[in-house]
Symmetry: C2
Subunit: 316 residues, 2 copies
DNA sequence: TTGTATGCGTTATCAT
DNA sequence: ATGATAACGCATACAA
């Protein structure tokens, strides 16, 4: 048995003729090693878990695609789990993965409380967090974040450069971390430009088109002078544009609009949407590779920031 | 050990007091059974594989969400694999799943040849095919298909009922099975209505907005009289609408447009897109439940057809 | 280079 | 009701 095992796994200690014979025979009988039995003894399953709030959201679908492609290259398999934004399901996901002896977890936009999250992370070999910070670094964990503060700054800077001065922000959900970081960037950039920041010009909303429509209508009613709006994401931005049209304002002539995330819709909608772009597929691949590095015990940074770029199209 | 095993799995043959003690202790030490060791002996891993061409495509993302939700309910985990439309990757996916002793596979839009597909399917306990037919039924397999022929008929019928008579079809990729079935429905419905079917009014294209734009421009150049176009999918339909606008035709006043798949974009784009709708999340759930039934040896139909419904909005 | 004993964490089976 | 033994399919450690 051991000779066969060595031959098949291309390990040393087998004569070349024997190896050939065994491999030919294995091929003939269509033998494939049982990976789960293999995992039981080696404690390495070549399997990782990917937890997302909702795979239906293109943002996570793209990350998932990047993770899966990179995993495929390195002969890893990935368990996909949706949490539906429910913390209980997130915990159930973590527990179920833990029971499977997987090599690591990529956890996107965790909704768990710090304490709970930290204790769960410690149960795994390695964990990569996407879009979530940790109070203090953990040796087996790493956090990948999009630099939302910079993103907002890039957007506002572009508005200012194109002579827009009365700038609003439709900020998405109030409790969203991205939203807070962008608001921070928004304010800092306006302050730098010595353009007065006006709290009246910020509105929160649900992160979809309907929410953007409502919030922009509200903003434009309060301050009809607005000549630019930065939106929480592209769906919100579309709602903002629709609100502008409904109020008789032309985009971009009367009012400029910038979105975020650069989903495929941005290039389809008319006018094409200027948006903050990050290569999400690449982030997925980065997450997977970092995870395997972590698991291999290589030292890695505890946090990686990804800078967005502004893709300038027609809307602003 | 066996007493503990029985107690924890709630199997008979343990006194109630013993069971309580064991369970309490297990809780205290945060014990969780190792599912992979469990799978090794029981030959049941509570794991299935889901193979899709591209999770980034909302069509598959929605199915995946349905599969995953249903799997979660029944305490199953799902391996997600993207094939990128490459047959070699599809085979690699099948092999890697097979090595993991999973309980079944859900395979979407397989690009494999009949013979190869059949031989691969037979290696598994159970396989559910989505959007792919088999030459003859297999005992461990089941096929779920969208009734594209009916879908096309519904669209054309609606055009006819709303007094459109010069109807074109932007058919997507020529080799697509969906495209062929829809063309069949398109022709049959026009024949029934004794409206002459004109081969000039069919054009093929890549299944995206740019393709739809090109194909519709071609169609409208050949036959400027066209007053309705049925599109391969919603992205194509958006391209069609953009082509209409570019040629100075108003939608829906001058020309009506119907898409297919009813992706979220349909409700965002202006005018809102009339589209064929199928509950993809539900198909995913159906696929999972059918798969587990198959695996349990229950007899199931060898093929399930899902009828689309026409969601009438503004474009046609 | 080849082969044997042992154990991974669990359950099936048979004995007490 | 409880416990001992073997087995699932492999790889590690050691012996020949």
């Amino acid at each position: 048995m051991m000779t066969a095992s060595r031959a098949i796994n291309n390990k040393p200690g087998v004569s070349e003729t024997m190896r050939q014979d065994i491999q030919r025979l294995a091929e003939e009988m269509r033998y494939r090693p049982n990976l789960i039995a293999q995992g039981l003894v080696t404690r390495q399953t070549f399997t990782i878990g990917l937890i997302v709030p909702d795979i239906t959201n293109p943002f996570f679908a793209q990350i998932a695609r990047g993770v899966e492609d990179a995993a495929f290259e390195r002969h890893y398999s990935v368990f996909l789990i949706n949490t539906a934004e429910e913390p209980e399901r997130e915990i159930a996901a973590l527990v179920s993965l833990w029971q499977k002896d997987i090599d690591g977890v990529i956890l996107c936009s965790s909704r768990l409380q710090d304490e709970q999250l930290v204790s769960r992370i410690q149960e795994f070999q390695a964990v990569v967090l996407i879009n979530r910070e940790l109070p203090q670094p953990l040796p087996n964990s790493l956090s990948i974040q999009i630099n939302d503060r910079l993103g907002a700054q890039l957007a506002i800077r572009h508005f200012l450069e194109t002579r827009r001065s009365k700038i609003g922000f439709v900020a998405g959900p109030r409790q969203s971390l991205s939203s807070q970081k962008r608001l921070d960037g928004f304010r800092s950039e306006l302050a730098d430009a010595t353009v007065s920041d006006n709290p009246q010009r910020v509105a929160y909303c649900t992160p979809n088109t309907a929410g953007g429509f409502r919030a922009a209508t509200e903003l434009l009613t309060r301050d009809p002078e607005l000549d630019a709006i930065f939106a929480f994401n592209d769906l919100v931005a579309v709602g903002v544009m629709q609100a502008c049209q409904a109020l008789g304002k032309r985009v971009p002539e009367d009012i400029a609009v910038i979105g975020a995330d650069d989903i495929p819709l941005a290039e389809i909608i008319r006018p094409n949407l200027t948006s903050l772009h990050v290569d999400l597929t690449n982030i997925g691949a980065l997450a997977l590779n970092s995870l395997l590095n972590l698991g291999a015990g290589n030292k890695t940074p505890s946090s990686i920031q990804i800078d967005p770029r502004l893709y300038i199209r027609e809307s602003g």
